[in-house]
């Protein structure tokens, strides 16, 4: 179960390692390889956050 959930940690590690390099490269506009690929397609959006609404007409006991 858990191993399928691991991805974000890997992402984080990756970004930590690669981000200074990428950012530095861009900032200095010293790109060694020019990639003309179109930007990757945006992933299917996760459903927006659910709206939690209180019940209508219900009578609460306490709280």
């Amino acid at each position: 179960m858990a191993d399928t959930n691991r991805k974000p940690r890997l992402d984080r590690l990756g970004s930590l390692l690669v981000a200074p390099f990428l950012l530095g490269r861009q900032a200095l506009s010293l790109e060694w390889v020019h990639t003309q690929d179109s930007p990757p397609e945006p992933q299917a959006k996760a459903p927006a956050r659910l709206t939690v609404t209180p019940p209508e007409h219900a009578i609460k006991r306490r709280g």
Binding site: A2, D3, R6, R9, L10
Partner: protein
């Protein structure tokens, strides 16, 4: 009294004459040529092959550790109630291996056991490497290794402090102290030899390195004076550590409430076991070194014979300890302890218990025979047996005790995973990689110390050192 009277005054009985510690004529010059030339020559093909194997093993271990970091401790077989398993077994095992070096270099030094001089360097180096392998485990076995530094009591703005009642914290200090003192001791002993190598080498590169490492050693009389004093002091310090480190490691178990762990015999028993395992590892490595590096004249069969005798003696101490464990279990009338001991000989892991007993107690008894003590086959057989046996002894202590403790409802069988084996393999890889590298870049024999025991070393009008 009569027997003594029969011996002429001034003569030493044959039995008391220490046999020569070297074979053939060894002069300081030839010794230097023999020992210090290794770093200057290209290693043979076999060395590269061996290094390739050990490095592969080490990389597998590193990979498995990385996988553990990525996934969590769940990558291992550890579970409830066996919350500790290979991680702590390996830790105790490697700390134990390290003990032989310190014993040989420190305690035997203080007891003026001259035969130790030829093997002290190697044994010490093995101590350092074994402790390096050991300290991996406390770091990687915690659930959140990125927070492992919290085990150190450092001042912090959160005003959090460590728990000094916890044996694990004692471990942190014990192992750290042990490592730093051993490393210092080792390095101190290396300085005169490194200086010799600095003076010998023709390579510029090596010259720079050895110059830095030699720390300005010129062999002046004051240097020697300070050196000897420092060496003696460190030997004294390390002597205490030989006893303390593994005692503290044993406190992890002895101070707990787990039946099978809560035993007063543990500290001495752990120390004896550690030296036992360490000596066996030293024998294995020495035999290889002696053969492959043509050091038969310096590391003689007598050295191995003495080592084997120590192993035999320790094996008997281990046997006594095991018996005392059983006796304690019986005499305490404690049903939990009794059950825990019965598990060692008849439980699910009974095979591990019997393997431990066979390897540590039964097999080494062959060393009562001089033939066995002077046979490569038998001494290697015993030494490998003891290494396996001592690993399984920790398995017995940790896994068997934990897997069935107080409430039977919580009992569970433990099964290691491939990652567990990978990490274990990895530590062997790291250990032997370091041993191989050491053998090629630093003097494997303390030439200065061996020079001190050469026949010519002591001033004598007879031309030998019997009357010195």
């Amino acid at each position: 009294m009569q027997a003594e009277a029969a011996i002429p005054a001034g003569a030493i009985p044959d039995g008391l004459i220490e046999p020569a510690l070297t074979i053939g004529r060894v002069t300081p010059g030839s010794l230097d040529d023999q020992v210090l030339s290794f770093p200057e020559t290209r290693p043979p093909k076999q060395w590269y092959l061996a290094l390739a194997i050990t490095l592969t093993a080490a990389l597998i271990g590193v990979g498995c550790i990385g996988y553990t970091f990525y996934l969590g401790i769940g990558a291992w077989g550890n579970t409830s109630p066996v919350f500790w398993a290979f991680d702590i077994i390996n830790f105790v095992f490697w700390v134990g291996i390290g003990h032989a070096g310190t014993l040989i270099s420190a305690i035997l030094f203080l007891f003026r056991k001259r035969w130790r001089n030829a093997i002290a360097r190697f044994a010490e180096a093995m101590t350092i490497f074994a402790v390096i392998c050991a300290v991996i485990f406390p770091l990687i076995h915690v659930g959140r290794p990125w927070l492992a530094y919290w085990l150190f009591p450092y001042p912090n703005q959160r005003a959090l402090w460590t728990n000094f009642r916890s044996p694990l914290l004692w471990d942190v200090f014990a192992v750290n102290t042990y490592f730093s003192v051993s490393a210092m001791f080792w390095y101190l002993g290396l300085i005169p030899d490194i200086a010799s190598m600095r003076d010998r080498t023709t390579s510029k590169f090596r010259k720079v390195i050895y110059t830095v490492l030699a720390m300005g050693w010129r062999g002046a009389a004051t240097h020697w004076q300070h050196y000897e004093k420092a060496y003696l002091l460190l030997a004294g310090l390390a002597t205490g550590l030989v006893l303390s480190v593994h005692s503290v490691v044993s406190f992890d178990f002895a101070t707990s409430v787990v039946p099978g762990w809560h035993m007063t015999i543990f500290p001495p028993y752990f120390v004896a076991g550690a030296i036992f395992a360490g000596f066996s590892m030293v024998v294995i490595v020495l035999v290889v070194v002696r053969e492959t590096m043509q050091l038969k004249n310096l590391i003689t069969m007598r050295h191995l014979d003495v080592m084997n005798k120590v192993i035999l003696a320790l094996s008997c101490i281990m046997g006594y300890s095991y018996m005392m464990e059983g006796f304690t279990a019986w005499y305490s009338m404690n049903e939990y302890l009794h059950h825990s001991f019965m598990n060692i000989i008849s439980g699910t892991y009974g095979w591990a218990g019997w393997l431990t007993i066979s390897c540590n107690i039964l097999i080494p008894q062959i060393l009562w025979f001089k033939k066995a003590r002077s046979s490569y086959f038998w001494m290697i057989f015993v030494a490998i047996g003891v290494t396996i046996g001592m690993w399984f002894e920790r398995f017995v202590i940790i896994v068997i005790s934990l897997h069935q403790d107080y409430l039977p409802s919580a009992w569970r069988i433990y099964k290691p995973t491939m990652v567990d084996f990978g990490v274990l393999l990895g530590t062997f890889g790291i250990f032997f990689t370091l041993v191989l590298l050491f053998a090629r870049v630093l003097p494997v024999i303390a030439t200065t110390e061996v020079k001190a025991i050469l026949p010519d070393a002591q001033p004598s009008h007879h031309g030998d050192d019997h009357h010195a």
